[in-house]
Amino acid sequence: MRELIRELVETYGPSGVEDEIRAVIRAEVEDLADEIRVDPLGSLVARKHGGDGGKRVVLAAHMDEIGIMVSYVDEKGFARFTRIGGVYSLNTVGDRVAFSNGTVGVVGVEQKRANATKIPTLDELYLDVGATSREDCPVAVGDSAVFVRPLDIQGTRLIAKAMDDRIGCAVLIETLRRLESTPHDLYFVFTVQEEVGLFGAGTSAYGIDPDVAIAVDVTGNGDTPESYPMAVALGKGPAVKVMDSGMIAHRAVKDVMVQRAKDAGIPYQLEVLARGTTDAMAMQVVRSGVPSGCLSIPCRYVHTPSEMVDERDVENAVCLMLEVLRADL
């Protein structure tokens, strides 16, 4: 799965500009799915027919990533920017971003900013793309960029930008690859615009009208120095979501994941996340309500350029997903 993950995390795809990443994922799933389509906002839907009597199940991972968007180019050719999703200035100074046309920019901080001992505000940062004037600046207002970081592998740890949520995409693709049979009508949905408001998942789920929906996304951790208490650690298995700040997972969906993990001897953890939510929140309120849950990959340093997951958790997430889909829900 490593090469798949490498390809996914290193591809460009900020919210709203998912064409490249969609093409990459499409190429991976095209031959595995019975049907494939792109819905009105750009989410990729790969359908796998099941037998009779199964449920219509949506599995969703978002393919967009956080990034920045140019908001102004000044007379000297420096760009100002706004965030696409949860980008924080603490993580960005000195970092590099890349645009879809290959232009690279360095994030700088104003030397004369108001309070040099405080974390700068986004307004005090700028992007240096090597231009000398507004006229020769290769980027324009409205252009989007993402962090530049290759995948690094250290033991079982995988480190890259955009693990959130390309690792979820990888879990779905790998699940589809290994899936032998299922009673269910499965929709593998690679959603758009999650980071800016869960927009793709809600609309895709509306179009599909599923009986059950499960998001696969990253979650936080409580196993780093002086972290808030959170009973989730890297390497101890995928996390079954109980609650986050946007939703309470449907009890039956949560329970079935736990039960299948126990039965198959797959390590798992239970997750109560204080801040953050996933596509499952948007899917649960579609139409008359969809029982929804989330399978999470524990991840450190979420929304920084170096998001870290454990390969064993990813593998176990695939195994658990296969167990969940194998039998009745």
Partner: protein, 343 residues
């Protein structure tokens, strides 16, 4: 110009009646169908001439921000809360119009002579301000402006030459553009023109209208922020008055559909219509509600740049206004099913 009537109509979120009346009057005879839905949106359809016409929803909101009466003092003053985002710095010393009949009222603050220390540096909080309509006591105040009555600025429309000024250009400017589109020639696409309610309190009218229409694509028309007055550093003006219609790529409510953005830019460049890209990440519009309707609706926002929106007197350039009408008309003329096809 219809903008004058629209600007001067009183229509705080939830109480858009007077604006609705102006619009229904203005579009009568220019549309194939019109109805008012359960929330008070005006839904008008002008059918397209093309084969397989794209069903385009173009929305402008009728409502404006304002104040709501939430209490009456024994001396006859009205206690108020805000409807939508109101800048408390703008309120002292202003004349308002209260209720659908437009009863005049004023907001005054403590005389400057009586301030202590650096009290003058502080902006009076909204819950310390009252509207004075000259009522003698609580009963009279309650009779004239019962709980829930809304108030807005009392400004009238003025012509400055190339620019005009008035209240509520956010979004009566958008409404005026939409009225002009309906009054013009038929377009190849089906134009579902929607004058929405309750944008300022959460994009609520557009949401139900988009559900009902289930359009192929959406566009919000706005009067949007200009920040082109002098400032400390070389920073974005958000939009510039005189710079042409402003196209939104991303704001706090949505990411615009790239194909629609390219259609607008391509049209503007082909025809030499000035345009600008609005500073991303600022504000939110009805497009945010439309694009997440049902299975998803590719959407965009186009705006007339307006200085000083959400204040008693905004300012816009008539050239920008005309160019917005023209850009919309020409872009809608080029909108076909192929525009929305994804390879």
């Amino acid at each position: 110009m219809i903008l004058k009537e629209l600007s001067e109509a009183i229509g705080v979120s939830g109480q858009e009646g007077p604006v609705r009346a102006v619009i229904l009057d203005a579009i009568r005879g220019h549309v194939d169908e019109v109805e008012v839905d359960t929330l008070g949106n005006v839904l008008a359809l002008k059918r397209g001439t093309g084969p397989e016409p794209v069903r385009a929803m173009v929305a402008a909101h009728m409502d404006e921000i304002g104040l709501m009466v939430v209490g009456h003092d024994s001396d006859g003053f009205l206690r108020v809360s805000q409807v939508g985002g109101i800048d408390a710095r703008l309120l002292p010393g202003k004349v308002l119009r209260v209720g659908p009949e437009g009863i005049p009222g004023v907001i005054g603050i403590k005389p400057v002579h009586l301030l202590k220390g650096d009290e003058y540096k502080k902006v009076p909080k909204l819950d310390s301000l009252v509207i004075d309509i000259g009522a003698k006591n609580k009963d009279e105040a309650r009779g004239l402006a019962p709980l829930g009555t809304c108030a807005t600025f009392g400004t009238t429309y003025r012509e400055f030459g190339p620019t005009v000024s008035g209240k509520a250009f956010d979004d009566r400017a958008g409404c005026a553009v939409l009225v002009e589109l309906l009054r013009g020639e038929r377009l190849p696409c089906d134009l579902h023109a929607v004058f929405t309610v309750q944008e300022e309190v959460g994009l609520r009218g557009a949401r139900v209208a988009a559900f009902k229409i289930a359009p192929d694509c959406g566009c919000a028309l706005e009067g949007t922020i200009c920040d082109d007055i002098p400032k400390d550093k070389d920073a974005s003006p958000t939009t510039e008055m005189g710079g042409g219609p402003a196209i939104t790529v991303m704001d706090r409510s949505f990411v615009a559909d790239r194909r629609l953005v390219e259609l607008l830019i391509g049209t503007a460049e082909d025809l030499g219509i000035p345009y600008q890209i609005k500073r991303p990440g600022i504000g939110g519009t009805d497009a945010g509600a439309i694009h997440r309707s049902r299975g998803g609706v590719p959407s965009v926002t186009v705006a007339v740049p307006c200085r000083y929106i959400h204040s008693p007197a905004a300012l816009l350039s008539l050239d920008d206004f005309d160019n917005t009408v023209r850009l919309m008309r020409e872009s809608l003329s080029r909108l076909t099913q192929r525009t929305l096809r994804r390879e």
